[in-house]
């Protein structure tokens, strides 16, 4: 019989997920799987993802690949699917608890954050101790990616994170503030403007992803500050890497959504044929699809590749 | 006229923004009479009866029913006290049936727990009574009591409104220009209804601009002018010309009528 699989992304508008879908479609075609894709209406829309999971069960799919919008909220629906014998793999964003999925194929988001944090600290050198940092986060509900990257950045930069599971409880005076962006350009611009008002001397900007970074850059440009602020981000999409070339972003942690998708499809096929579930990367509780820092201004002590190499591996 | 009035008002005041609609208006209605209220447009006739029937709350003044002071905060309260009103704009709910409209706000519930616990309506009972009331008043051209009011002609609607007031009014029936939009024939029917109601012993307040009709049916005529009662005249003692002259200010009101 036909083996069918589902891909459920947070939205179908973020290029990251668009690419992920393309990757999954290609892989499914190669392996002879039927694939159906679903998405939430906006980042954070849990109900649509729940309905999608239920549809996959009704549809008799063998497995589900999901990038959860509400990492805690989706858990019961995932459990239903697993109870019905489906393999559920979280992509990109781990569930809470991470064990709620059969496996997670993701960037090590904490590491992704650490890398850009270290790079920023190293690049600033002595000036790091009186940096002024803006954090452009994802959503008020603090989904796991948001927390991991944000807190990872702080660790890399040398900021005391207090509770590493919580954004916003820190007291380091170098933090100007946090604001949410919904991971898109418009949110990035408004959040940046707001934080600039709070403190116009901001010189480091952490962003949850590259669309948010692009929005932030427009706000900086509007006040003529685009040259003297370090913007770091996560994603490594082709537009993002080009933005690194163009100096919009100083450094970005590149992730590999196509790999997540193709690995996920392979795992479902294998599970359908043999019943075997995928294994985690040694020493971690998830399958690490890798992360690489991309920058043209390498900093001492932080491993990175340049944009030429980055462009070869970029997606979208 | 030596009887005591059933309904009186003294010193009613009602302001709308910069307009004073009622300016210390008085009012008296005696048992079993038809009292006509006449006056120019905007004289405050509708405001007066709205104040009496609980549709608006006067800013000042006192209303007494059967000698006891009352203060209606809604048309419901006035109705419960026995005052039924046919408003200038009818006050029927177009989408509801004739029976529903007649019983609006005084529905009959099923006997037993269906009624007391589940508050279920007794449709058959309400329909039966509605049909009776309509035919009592000779309104049998309406075939279907469950017809929506919006499917009736203007004259028929007017008939339903008047029938409702006549059927349920236990103390007073008030009608605000019931024939304004009606044709000759339809107006006549409403006048007959009014006489019919009086013949059952109920006093009626009739507001109208139609002098021949007023003089035909009224026992007394209350002339309203500039927000207050100007005078009361007996239609047998004064002519239509007199009434119009007083009402429009063409001639001053007679002394003895003022004191009435």
């Amino acid at each position: 019989a036909d083996v069918s699989a589902c891909l459920i992304t947070k939205t179908d508008t973020n290029p990251f997920f668009v690419k992920m879908k393309e990757g999954a479609t290609t892989a499914a075609k190669e392996l002879g799987l039927k694939l159906k894709s679903y998405a939430g209406k906006v980042d954070g829309d849990n109900e649509s993802q729940v309905a999608a999971v239920e549809t996959c069960i009704a549809d008799g799919a063998k497995g589900i690949l999901i990038t959860p919008s509400d990492t805690k909220g989706i858990v019961p629906a995932v459990k239903k699917a697993r109870d019905a014998g489906l393999l559920v793999i979280a992509l990109d964003t781990p569930l809470e608890p991470i064990s709620a999925a059969d496996m997670t194929f993701a960037t090590d988001n904490l590491l992704a954050g650490k890398l850009i944090g270290q790079w920023a600290a190293a690049t600033l050198g002595d000036k790091a101790k009186d940096a002024k940092i803006a954090f452009l986060d994802l959503a008020p509900s603090q989904p796991s990616v948001d927390v991991l990257r944000d807190q990872g950045f702080m660790m890399g930069f040398g900021i005391d994170t207090k509770d590493a599971n919580k954004i916003g409880d820190e007291s380091d005076p170098r933090i100007v503030g946090h604001d949410v962006t919904s991971g898109n350009e418009e949110g990035g611009r408004s959040a940046m403007e707001n934080l600039l008002q709070k403190d116009p001397t901001i010189n480091v900007v952490y962003t949850i992803n590259e669309p948010a970074a692009a929005g932030a850059y427009e706000a900086l440009k509007a006040v003529g500050r685009e040259k003297d602020v370090l913007v770091v981000s996560v994603d490594g999409g082709c537009p993002g890497v080009k933005n690194v070339v163009g100096g919009v972003i100083g450094a970005t942690s590149q992730q590999y959504p196509l790999l997540m998708a193709s690995k996920g499809i392979e795992a479902i096929k294998k599970y359908a044929e043999t019943g075997a579930k995928p294994e985690a990367t040694a020493g971690k509780n998830f399958f690490d699809t890798g992360v690489t820092l991309v920058t043209d201004k390498p900093a001492k002590g932080v491993e990175s590749i340049d944009t030429k190499a980055g462009l070869k591996k970029c997606w979208g | 006229m030596e009887k005591t009035p059933i309904l009186t008002a003294r010193g009613l005041v009602k302001r709308y923004g910069r307009v004073t609609a009622l300016d210390h208006a008085d009012f008296d209605l005696y048992p079993g009479e038809i009292l006509a209220v006449i006056g120019d447009n905007g004289a405050g006739k509708s405001s007066l009866i709205k104040a009496i029937s609980g549709a608006i709350l006067p800013d000042a003044g006192e209303i007494r029913l059967d000698g006891k002071p009352v203060s209606f905060r809604s048309p419901m309260e006035a109705r419960d006290a026995g005052i039924e009103t046919v408003y200038q704009n009818l006050a029927l709910s177009p989408a509801l049936s004739i029976a529903d409209n007649m019983f609006l706000g005084r529905e009959i519930r099923r006997p037993g727990p269906l009624g007391s616990v589940f508050r279920m309506l007794d449709r058959p009972a309400m329909e039966k009574i509605a049909r009776e009331k309509l035919s009592e008043l000779g309104l049998m051209t309406i075939q279907n009591i469950n017809q929506a009011v919006e499917t009736l002609s203007g004259g028929q609607r007017q008939g339903v409104a008047v029938a409702r007031a006549a059927a349920f009014g236990s103390k007073v029936v008030i009608m605000d220009e019931p024939t304004a939009a009606l044709g000759v024939k339809e107006s006549r029917r409403v006048l007959e209804l009014i006489l019919e109601v009086r013949s059952r012993g109920l006093p009626i307040v009739l507001i109208s601009h139609n002098m021949p009709h007023v003089f035909e049916v009224a026992d007394r005529i209350h002339i309203h002018r500039l927000g207050k009662r100007l005078c009361i005249i007996n239609p047998k003692e004064y002519s239509m010309s007199d009434a119009v002259a007083f009402m429009t200010g063409a001639r001053p009101a007679p002394e003895e009528a003022l004191a009435a």
């Binding site: 309905a51 509900s141 | 007959e192």
Partner: protein
Amino acid sequence: MQSTNAASQPSQEFEKVLVDSSTQVASFEHERSLTERFQHFLHSSPAAVPLIVLVLSLIAFGAILGGKFFSAFTLTLILQQVAIVGIVGAAQTLVILTAGIDLSVGAIMVLSSVVMGQFTFRYGLPAELSVLCGFAVGAACGFINGALIAYMRLPPFIVTLGMWQIVLAANFLYSANETIRAQDIEATAPILQFFGNSLRLGGAVLTYGVIAMVLLVAAIWFLLNRTAWGRHLYATGDDPDAAELAGVNVKRMLLSVYTVSGLICALAGWALIGRIGSVSPTAGQFANIESITAVVIGGLSLFGGRGSILGMLFGALIVGVFSLGLRLIGTDPQWTYLLIGVLIIGAVAIDQWIRKVAG
């Protein structure tokens, strides 16, 4: 009405001839075509159109998808997916029948569910008590809406727009955006997930949430059609001034409708916990739009006073059938949204067509 025996002697000469006047009325039926008769049938049964559309879409998707769609499991899954919208839609129906609109239903639902969760977990109240508190909060929000609309005569659209923002913000501020995990609820306060329990009959899975929706709609149908409250509600929506003068306490009516709407939203909040398992302050973002959509496709008039709550239920089911059916076919979800947009406009266009000739 015949000339009565009362003293009726017209004073104006020309009125005397009226005794002989004809009783014929100026409206005569002309031959009615089949279309017109059909239109008239549809006009007199307001839930018929959505019901027909529902049946047709079931048949269409059944034909395309076969047993995968026409299974007890899938058909009851639709009910599950529609349950929350159906409950919120019941609240919306009441409000829209009064010619109002409630944009705060989604926010009230979420706040109520958050209160049920947080009162249990943050303050350690017994879950049953927290549920009651959730209902109280829902009713209070509705009450405030109602008071502003009925007594201060503010337009419902604006009051509930403001309330939406206020309640949603209060919800985020109060909950600190924390999701309460399903596992914790299951362990400590399973009653919060009450509506997630289910009856299984063969492949059919009827959650208590679905049963609650059906019972709620039935109860409201009864209230609307068999009690004075329901008649007064229709009268209020039809023409509030007329209703007031005819003896309906319109203000109290509006106050009660919005309060009941708040209560029903709290019920939806409880059912929502059952459906998604956890308590999430970000849930229910689309409940406003979805409930209004169900009402509109169900053939209720936004001008109030016309339509049946059954129409709303069918409207919600139509959206549910389309959503699941198209998902099963594997179409891009955006096509679903597009189609629902077309359905919305189509529904009122049909409605208009029916009214046009049926009069």
